[in-house]
């Protein structure tokens, strides 16, 4: 079977076109080198279907497959879905740890310890004032100063409590903003659902919309920092997403977006909820413990004082001890001693002896607890950050654009393009000889 003289031209043409497509893809990669969520693409080249010559192609009359050049088989998105899975799990952990650390950090700042303005110092000055009263039980100035110091203690407790309360409210507000209608969770989910629809149309037409899939993966990553996600890829190219609770019904499915149940959100949402929940949340437990310290203080002082010195109402969550601590005496009603003697100071002595005991040591324990929890949270965040970075590195190692590699590819594809065109011009010269200079004897 004869083979067309122009056969080689076609082969070279295919080469030119394929190398051009490969170069285009390289250009696309370079252009998107710093696009967030972009996965590098490659033009998958494969030998074009060979021309089958049934017989007489080679000596002995046998047939052959004659190579016909190259074709672009597909434009592939280089991505490892297993790494996506790993990354999203770490992103959820990191989201949780960092939201928790932010909240605890603010709570720790609210305590203002160790400093000269914290509750510890105020308590210390309060005991000093009792000691001064014991030295001068009849001194109006000592009484006045004691009542003022008591007020400062109550105020310090109140301020710390209100700051803690603010941290809890802040967390709740952020949680509400994220999960509200039109909040970040919903808008992200709706974008994913919309991309699902578009991707489905292309995939059913046999197409792979790489860049749209990248966009969707980026949105899924974002969702993963907010809460736990469980993502199922369906054959039609869409994804089904369960968000904020392993057993919950899907938030995104074929029908689009559904409000999530958030039974156990995890991630940033989970941490915010842990911080804000009343009663039982972390901030609430701090306020309760601080309230107990205030209650211990009021109890110990009142018992020794005989008449109520402080009033306190610790019945969380309706009323917290630290917020309700108030001074119930005036300089005139402060009792330095049970007897009316001007110089007697038994009560003042006994109360001054409380320094370093119950209330002080309870407060110290509370500070140590908060400190340890913040430290642990910071450690967890650093740990989650390191793991998340490691997975991100692995993912980037697979999907990221390496400019050096792309430069190498440019050279490779450019040379291949040049060689293909050289093959074509060689073919052209050959045909020129055949057409224009062959059989011209005698012309």
């Amino acid at each position: 079977m004869p083979i067309s003289s122009f056969y080689g031209l076609q082969t070279a043409m295919r080469g030119l076109l394929a190398q051009q497509r490969a170069l285009d893809t390289t250009g696309h990669n370079i252009a998107n080198a710093s696009t967030q969520g972009y996965s590098r693409q490659e033009a998958v080249l494969a030998a074009a279907p060979a021309t089958w010559i049934p017989q007489g192609a080679v000596q002995g009359g046998a047939g052959a497959h004659l190579g016909s050049g190259v074709d672009v088989q597909a434009y592939r998105r280089v991505r490892d879905t297993f790494l996506d899975l790993q990354y999203r799990a770490q992103a959820t952990r990191l989201g949780e740890a960092s939201a928790r650390t932010e909240g605890l950090d603010r709570a720790e700042l609210a305590l203002a310890e160790p400093s000269d303005d914290g509750i510890n110092k105020q308590l210390s000055e309060f005991w000093d004032a009792w000691s001064d009263l014991a030295n001068s039980p009849d001194d109006a100035a000592a009484r006045q100063s004691l009542v003022e110091k008591a007020g400062a203690v109550a105020e310090a407790f109140g301020i710390v409590d209100s700051q803690l309360k603010l941290v809890g409210e802040h967390a709740q507000a952020e949680y509400d903003a994220l999960t509200a209608a039109g909040g970040e969770v919903e808008t992200t989910a709706r974008e994913i659902a919309a991309l699902n629809d578009t991707i489905k149309r292309f995939v059913t037409a046999g197409d792979t919309p790489n860049d749209l899939m990248d966009q969707r993966d980026l949105l899924l990553d974002k969702l993963a920092t907010l809460g736990t996600t469980s993502i199922t890829s369906l054959p039609d190219g869409t994804v089904e997403v369960v968000f904020g609770g392993p057993g919950d019904p899907p938030m995104i499915d074929a029908a689009g977006y559904h409000a999530p149940a958030l039974s156990n959100p995890g991630g940033r949402l989970g941490a915010l909820r842990d911080l804000a929940t009343v009663p039982g949340g972390v901030i609430d437990s701090y306020r309760q413990e601080l309230g107990t310290v205030a209650q211990t203080l009021a109890g110990a002082v009142n018992t020794l004082h005989g008449t109520p010195f402080f009033t306190v109402n610790h019945a969380p969550p309706a009323s917290y001890g630290a917020a309700s601590l108030a001074v119930a005496v005036t300089p005139a009603t402060v009792r330095a001693d049970a007897s009316g003697d001007k110089g007697a100071n038994k009560i003042a002595l006994a109360i001054a002896e409380l320094r370093g005991k119950g209330p002080d040591s309870d407060y110290n324990k509370f500070i140590a607890r908060v400190g340890s929890e913040v430290r642990e949270s910071v450690r967890q965040e650093a740990n989650a950050q390191a793991l998340s970075d490691a997975v991100l590195d692995r993912r980037d190692s697979v999907s990221g654009v390496s400019l050096d590699e792309e430069m190498g590819n440019i050279v490779r594809f450019q040379r291949a393009y040049q060689a293909s065109s050289r093959a074509m011009s060689t073919m052209d010269e050959m045909l020129d000889v055949l057409i224009n200079r062959t059989g011209r004897v005698g012309l």
Binding site: S34, P114, N120, W127, S131, D341, G356, V374, L403, D404
Partner: protein, 299 residues
């Protein structure tokens, strides 16, 4: 990992993350140097924070006890001076009594002595009514009431006052007037005010025998006063000892507090320098990695 592709974004991100980490440490160390504190918030070191808080409380307490002791010392000195004056007065009374008891002293002379004795009694009563910062020191807990008013009856309280001079340590501050001077003739307790009044009466009654008996009673009173002054002196010694112990405790508490929460400047500065060197090295390495590209070498 074999065959790891290092991508451009990865390199940049890692360099940036490393720089941030080194920088963060640098800032932290800088804060330590600037504030001279190892602990600026509880999470820096929860255990030592709690320790530092307890040490601060105990330091404040120690300083308060020192103030209490100063106040108590002032009180004791006042009491000591008063006791001294009273002792001198009774010594003088003893001399007068000795003079009056001799049979050569006649009624007129005894009358004159009795007159001087009245003045002495008044001065004893005045000394007993000594105040420290407006408080009667011999009145027990009723510091606003003079122990001896218009009569010789003791008007104060029998309850002692205490001062706190350490955690759980209190010292009795007062000498109750009635135990030192007694309640006068009406109380018939044999204490100075009773004996002195008797003495004056006996002088006026020109009763030599009774006067000689009074001499013995006065000597007993002097012994008792000596005992009271010894007690007072012992308290002063105790206060002084407690004061110097508190000074030592204060010093060691300050030291412990400093060890717990203050930064070791030499160590911190060395850390700072090595971190700075690390930061510069990281910057340099990062810059040269980021700048290089295959493009520099292709035509």
């Amino acid at each position: 990992m074999a065959n790891t592709r290092i991508t451009t974004g990865m390199t940049q991100r890692n360099i940036l993350a490393d720089l941030n980490r080194v920088n963060e440490r640098l800032v932290r160390t800088q804060q330590k140097v600037a504030s001279n504190k190892e602990i600026t918030r509880p999470s820096d070191d929860p255990f030592n924070t709690s320790r530092a808080l307890a040490l601060r409380t105990s330091l404040d307490g120690t300083q308060q006890y020192q103030r209490n002791i100063e106040d108590a010392q002032g009180w004791q000195e006042t009491a000591e001076q008063a006791l001294n004056t009273i002792t001198e007065a009774i010594h003088r009374a003893h001399e007068l009594a000795t003079q009056g008891a001799t049979d050569t002293t006649d009624a007129n002379a005894r009358e004159a002595i009795a007159h001087e004795l009245d003045q002495l009694i008044e001065s004893v009563r005045q000394s007993a009514n000594t105040t420290y910062r407006g408080r009667y020191v011999f009145s027990g807990t009723t510091t606003d009431v003079p122990p001896y008013g218009t009569t010789d009856a003791y008007a104060g309280s029998a309850t002692d006052i205490e001062r706190q001079i350490g955690p759980g340590v209190a010292i009795t501050l007062t000498l109750v007037g009635s135990t030192v001077l007694g309640g006068g003739q009406a109380a018939a307790d044999g204490k100075p005010l009773h004996v002195l009044r008797d003495l004056a009466d006996h002088l006026r009654a020109n009763d030599g025998a009774a006067l000689r008996a009074d001499l013995g009673r006065l000597e007993t009173n002097l012994d008792d006063l000596l005992g009271a002054r010894a007690l007072n002196g012992a308290r002063q010694n105790r206060l002084e000892a407690a004061g110097s112990r508190l000074d030592a405790i204060e010093e060691s508490t300050v030291k412990q507090l400093s060890n717990t929460e203050d930064a070791d400047i030499a160590k911190t500065l060395i850390e700072f320098n090595s971190q700075q060197a690390a930061y510069q090295a990281a910057l340099k390495a990062g810059a040269s990695i980021v700048q290089n590209s295959l493009m520099d070498f292709l035509r």
